[in-house]
Symmetry: C2
Subunit: 503 residues, 2 copies
């Protein structure tokens, strides 16, 4: 092995510092959502802004620019899939994107984001969309200006690129269109036979402490290595990692529903397992992150749905659930709970949606984003457009904006281009699940035996370990042998729910 | 009020960022000691080093140098005790100190510190001083080189200055000498009458969960504003603050001793109250910290001893203790527990020492530090010198180095000059306690009524709010009207323990 040139060593050191600042920011964000007393919020916001600002300054520094230039021939002499060539290539791309946007616009966006988030909280509490309009208009205006910094074919391309690098608006639009055509009729057919699945066992009273005991038992079977992770409570569950060996997952307890905390934990564990599975050789580099939100979400949905809502899972874990809540589950069996956990019930709220209707929530948001950003729809007309589409796709009337257009924080924070990654995650999860099953025909039996690490080992080898070395499209291709494709997902939904609902 | 010049605004912004990085480092350190899974340690060390390095680079940057120069006449035109003049003055001093030490020496010290800490852990576990010798020698050598960077009269002056800015070795030596002359005979006299105080009620079996319930009750009376602090567990209790409104305190539960967790909490709460009491106008500036370790420790010892080991405290809290451990305290009263909590028992371990013998532990460390740094004592001869002095001052034979010279982490981390601040804290606490009592003659009655905020209000007004605006000596003078003086402390010890032991 040739010794890398001094410029490479210097670049890696600088990039290590930038990564450290990024992870330090993640620690502060995790703390603020799980541990921080309320009084710390104001100063914490400044601390987070400083870490972001210092990180930015280091990344765009002339020194890194010079090192990246100096390393062109070194990079070209290496295989493109080597850690070294990938580090130079990806860092150059990161830096180029960072340089495209003037500092003044960046700070205007950051400011509008925090004002927007605050205004949204108030507006949602009072279900008062009008008061939120100027903040949302400001976010839209700034995101249009942001998009202009890139010579993009479509105004939405640069926004999408922040979450799903390299994917184009036309691709995702076509994919979501195919998905809608398959899911909408399936959801309609299920609605006709809603009584076929009884999910009453998942509703009632489940004390948080008992749920937590159950979760800790189930978590013991998860393939997260001991001493490398922890589980905490938070209002809005999330996962993050401060190192591949320091993963933090969170969940939320709803005492009226057994599924909320359990599926949130499995979902966040999926995110955490991705972070945990990245090659240690990439630690403290910008490659040591999941490659996109779509891929990230594919791992959370895989663990939440393909594992957590599978027969195999419930055959193993049903006895634990039964012993945690003996009265509730005395006369039921694993199959009953499997069915209940998979029940389809159109709802107003995305984060509470079942597997079948979930993507309809995403699609309507994507469609509205397109219209807003192409200035075909005015911000103030959003509620009507939202409500019409909810009636159209889900057959539900929206009683108040808090349960409609005001339910998600994303737009309040200027996160346009983010929503489609949720559906991309579902789609990719199905492709990856299919590939894993093809590689391990006895995978279901292994999951039923509690050997969850079999799946994790495969995912680590075929997805996780690469981190950000390749593009999302390349990463998918390496795992499943082809491009993103809705077909396996649609087939999975039709097979599972066709059987459950006797379609 | 005149508008400050642009250079001042720019300086404050830069200093705000430096402070943010410092506080971010504190969050990461707190997390690593209370929350982090073990797997995160290695990467966390890199993250902490990066935050420290970036903070250093910003502070010594030419830009800050230029701003400080530019602000000389502005500073001179302001009252010295204004926030603005203080910020410029203190920042200039901070930067000058930071510039004195070459980067290569700084990183050698940081490296020796982390190697030393690791070697110490191993050595202490096996009570094997010999294996620790080369690491300690390296720390001593580097600290001598560090001291050489400053044109100091005494090699120990620059080391002491890092913890007690402005104090000279001769001052602290004279002060500790006076203290020894007063405390040693007092300890000896008490040893003759050890049976006069029965502390058996503090020993036994106290389940951690019951202790925690008691601590939460007592903490409710502490004058830390709700929503601005939290209490966690850790192996070695500490306190830190990430904002004046975000204070973290920790404690440690020993199920065999009731006092450990309680007094650790009060001690750390004292540190936390100091951070909490700094003027909000200093938030996000380098002035927003306790001014020295001596002053910091004065606050922790005040709450631990002058409050927590007072009759007034136990008169109020005895019923809570009695109801937490009814069997243990059934036939006792507040006076019994006050006496037990104040029992004097010479021990080998500093952190378990009582009020009277504590300073003897500090004094012997200070004396040995002097001899080592003046090269009158060789590192490898430390255990013999230590053991001889423990026999001399405390009348105890040291059975093994783990309970002797290896007990503290400080020297392993190169922290020479730190120990005397513990005794300075005791001394200053007594001066401040005396001044507070003089200002509020009914203070004991207020404390007995649970009005702990009376004391905190006075401390905030006379000590806390200044942060680092003044030197430690000026801060003491403002609070007590004169210089650091051992007399009030000696008088306090003689009065309290004279009565308790019938001397």
């Amino acid at each position: 092995v040739a010794v890398p040139p001094a410029a490479y060593t210097a670049l890696r050191e600088k990039l290590g510092q930038i990564h450290d600042l990024d992870r330090a920011r993640a620690v502060l964000a995790w703390d603020s959502r799980t541990m921080m007393p309320a009084g710390g919020a104001e100063v914490r916001a400044e601390q987070l802004a400083t870490l972001e600002g210092v990180r930015h300054d280091l990344l765009v520094s002339d020194e890194i620019g010079r090192l990246l230039e100096e390393l062109r021939s070194y990079e070209e002499g290496l295989p493109a899939d080597s850690d070294e060539a990938s580090l130079v290539r990806v860092s150059r791309r990161d830096r180029d994107k960072e340089l495209r946007v003037p500092a003044s616009l960046r700070s205007a966006i950051a400011r509008a984001k925090s004002l927007g988030e605050h205004a949204w909280k108030e507006a949602r509490a009072r279900s008062d969309f009008d008061s939120f309009v100027p903040y949302l208009e400001r976010n839209v205006e700034l995101k249009l200006r942001y998009a202009e910094c890139f010579d993009a074919e479509h105004v939405y391309d640069p926004l999408l690129d922040d979450f799903e690098p390299g994917m184009k608006t036309v691709e995702v639009a076509s994919l979501l269109c195919d998905l809608k055509e398959a899911v909408a009729p399936l959801a309609a057919a299920i609605a006709e036979r809603a009584e076929a699945v009884d999910d009453s066992c998942m509703h009632g009273h489940f004390p948080a402490a008992d749920q937590e005991g159950l979760l800790v038992e189930i978590a013991r079977d998860l393939p997260l290595p001991p001493g490398t992770w922890r589980l905490d409570h938070t209002a809005h569950p999330f996962a993050n990692a401060f190192a591949t060996t320091d993963v933090r997952i969170t969940t939320r307890y709803d005492e009226r529903r057994l599924g909320t905390a359990l599926f949130a934990m499995l979902h966040e564990a999926g995110h955490g397992l991705y972070e945990s599975g990245i090659s240690p050789s990439l630690e403290r580099t910008p490659l040591c992150r999941p490659v996109s939100l779509g891929l990230h979400e594919s791992q959370s949905r895989l663990w939440e749905n393909a594992v957590g809502r599978s027969r195999a899972f419930w055959r193993r874990f049903f006895p634990k659930v039964q012993s945690a809540f003996p009265e509730r589950f005395a006369h039921l069996d694993a199959e009953d709970v499997y069915r209940a956990a998979s029940a389809v019930r159109p709802s107003l709220i995305r984060v509470e949606a079942d597997e079948v209707t979930y993507d309809l929530h995403v699609i309507l948001r994507f469609e509205l984003e397109q219209e807003i950003l192409q200035e075909r729809l005015k911000v103030r007309d959003l509620p009507d457009a939202w409500n019409a589409r909810v009636m159209d796709y889900l057959g539900l009337a929206v009683p108040r904006d808090a349960d409609g257009v005001l339910q998600d924080v994303h737009w309040a924070e200027g996160l346009f281009g983010y929503f489609p990654t949720y559906s991309l995650g579902n789609v990719i999860a199905a492709q990856i699940g299919k590939a894993a099953h093809a590689a391990m025909p006895d995978l279901d039996a292994r999951l039923e035996a509690g050997e969850l690490h079999s799946l994790q080992d495969w995912l680590q080898e075929h997805v996780h370990r690469h981190g950000r070395k390749f593009t999302p499209a390349e990463t998918v291709a390496r795992a499943v042998g082809g491009p993103v494709d809705v077909e396996p997902y649609v087939r999975y939904l039709r097979a599972k729910y066709g059987e459950l609902y006797g379609l």
